[in-house]
């Protein structure tokens, strides 16, 4: 990839995660949903109904592909079979952009199907940056990496999470999918300042926001995506819009999924927060 002054793709506005519960409703006119984010792995299948639905959605909406299995931080080699399948899907769907997570998901050929934390160290920056460049070259697309919620930090870390994320984005020349809920969750769990996190992220790298709900479990907050967005996350989202401007925003809901109308109302709330801030800044 060649470096450019603003590496970001154009903003798509306000979108939702594509979930099977909403397939039928999404084929009705939905003027308040600007775009959809599809979980790549749900469509990395040979054929049948899932791919048919995705193609039909793509005819109506811009679609972004969001993966959970790239395992960009693992010390295992990159999985070329996975990347080949992902590229085939992308070439077929032509997503507005693609993303995955700044994490690892397994080693020694095992997959733990979770977004596991990395130590914030130079070795990991170099390792991940090299691999992001390989992936981008393979896919022929610049990708976005998402900050994950975490419940464990490592004593070996020498940097803050935001320093780690920013360094990888610059060195790999990739984009950032900034999950505002994940910042809130990790700030609580590890005792850092979420606003300091936002201040440490370079605006020209931020391609997308995620916002979502979470759950308290004992003293930790767990990123469950099964609740409406909480007030502290809305407040942090407003601060993110002030810092990063008009960034594509998407609400994630993976469990306890309500009717589409409820999520559209939540999306309207995001609009109501963002638009006055953007107007004032214009």
């Amino acid at each position: 990839m060649t470096k450019t002054s603003d590496p970001r793709f154009p903003s798509l506005g306000f979108g939702l995660g594509l979930r099977a519960d909403h397939y039928d409703a999404l084929l009705e006119p939905q003027p308040r949903i600007d775009w959809l984010e599809a979980l790549s792995e749900n469509y990395l299948v040979p054929g049948g109904k899932p791919l048919d639905w995705l193609r039909r959605m793509r005819e109506r909406y811009p679609v972004v592909l969001h993966g959970v299995s790239l395992s960009i931080g693992s010390h295992d080699p990159l999985d070329l079979d996975y990347l080949t399948a992902l590229k085939k899907l992308a070439d077929s769907i032509e997503p507005a952009w693609m993303s995955d997570h700044l994490c690892w998901t397994g080693a020694h050929g095992r997959n733990l199907h979770d977004l596991l934390p990395l130590p914030y160290i130079e070795e990991a920056i170099a390792h991940v940056s090299d691999r992001v460049r390989e992936v981008q070259d393979f896919l022929g697309r610049r990708i976005a990496l998402e900050n994950v919620s975490s419940y464990a930090e490592f004593k070996a870390s020498t940097l803050s999470e935001w320093e780690f994320l920013a360094a990888i984005a610059e060195r790999a020349d990739c984009l950032i999918l900034l999950d505002v809920n994940n910042i809130h969750v990790s700030a609580h769990n590890h005792g850092f300042d979420a606003r300091e996190y936002l201040a440490g992220i370079p605006p020209r790298r931020v391609q997308q926001f995620h916002i979502a709900g979470h759950t308290f479990q004992n003293n930790l907050i767990i990123d469950t995506h099964d609740q409406p967005v909480s007030d502290p996350v809305w407040d942090l989202y407003a601060d993110a819009v002030r810092r990063f401007g008009a960034v594509s925003t998407m609400i994630e809901r993976d469990d306890n999924i309500p009717p589409l109308s409820e999520l559209v109302a939540e999306l309207d709330h995001a609009r109501a927060i963002a638009e006055p801030i953007l107007r004032a800044a214009a």
Binding site: K49, D81, Y82, H108, H113, D114, E123, H188, N218
Partner: protein, 263 residues
């Protein structure tokens, strides 16, 4: 010296052994909110919970028949015995039927493995490669005297399983929101076929002669071998008519993806 690899190895060991290996805890920050064990414990718990949930999505009939509690226990046994080697969790349950067939106490209820095989067959048919079936005209284009040599290929959405238990009846009850019937052996084992038409999966039991004929086709044998298989059920003079009837029905169902003509 690498920090990353040993740290990931230790983290993974603790997740896969259900929270026994202690090595990773020395490397994790604990504080007043939660100690290192609780923090890593979130990941240990989530690992099994996520895989059990994925199996629950794939094994609807097995869950319906076993009940939630038994289903969760057999899934947890599978998870502990079977680390995932798949990037896509869609394929994680591939070995469940074999696991249930071979592992106590589940192997003592053989219907469980058959229920799992039924669910997996439905899943394979559901998202198999899209393949256009051939038309009758494709067969008609082959000279009749060469039919015996032609090789037919089944599409990937056509799956077959042989059941000695009433698992098809159980699936029917689940699909129609009826109570689960008692699990019992059927009088004669039957082959069931699962296939996709207009994106929907359909399934039914095959007659014995049709199952044998399909076995011949699935084995890559020529049409004449299929006719020979039908001789076990039909008089010689009736075989051609039955074979032609089956072929016509299969083409109508979209069960034939390709025909290799002798030339």
């Amino acid at each position: 010296m690498s920090v990353l690899a040993p740290l990931q190895d230790a983290f993974q060991r603790r997740i896969l052994d259900g929270g026994v290996d202690m090595a990773i805890l020395d490397g994790v920050v604990g504080n007043a909110i939660a100690d290192a064990g609780e923090r890593v414990g979130v990941y240990v718990y989530a690992y099994a919970a996520r895989l059990v949930e994925a199996l629950g999505n794939d094994y609807l009939t097995l869950r319906f028949a076993a009940g939630d509690e038994t289903f969760e226990q057999l899934c947890r046994d599978y998870v502990m015995a079977t680390p995932s080697i798949h990037r896509n969790v869609r394929w994680y349950g591939r070995g469940l039927a074999e696991f249930l067939r071979a592992t106590a106490p589940w192997k003592h209820t053989p219907a469980l493995a058959e229920l799992a095989a039924l669910d997996w067959a439905i899943g394979l048919s559901f998202d198999a490669l899209d393949e256009e079936g051939i038309a009758e005209a494709d067969i008609a284009a082959i000279p009749f005297e060469r039919w015996g040599e032609m090789i037919l290929r089944l599409p990937r959405h056509v799956q077959r399983e042989r059941f000695a238990w009433n698992v098809g009846e159980v699936r029917h009850a689940r699909d129609h929101a009826q109570p689960c019937p008692p699990l019992q052996r059927v009088q004669f084992p039957q082959t069931w076929i699962f296939s996709r038409k207009d994106l929907e999966v359909h399934y039914r039991a095959l007659e014995s002669d049709e199952a044998a004929a399909l076995d011949a086709i699935a084995g890559g044998r020529p049409f004449e071998a299929m006719c020979a298989a039908l001789c076990d059920w039909h008089a010689q003079e009736d075989v051609a008519l039955r074979a032609a009837g089956l072929l016509k029905a299969w083409i109508g169902n979209g069960w034939i993806a390709a025909v290799a003509s002798p030339d």
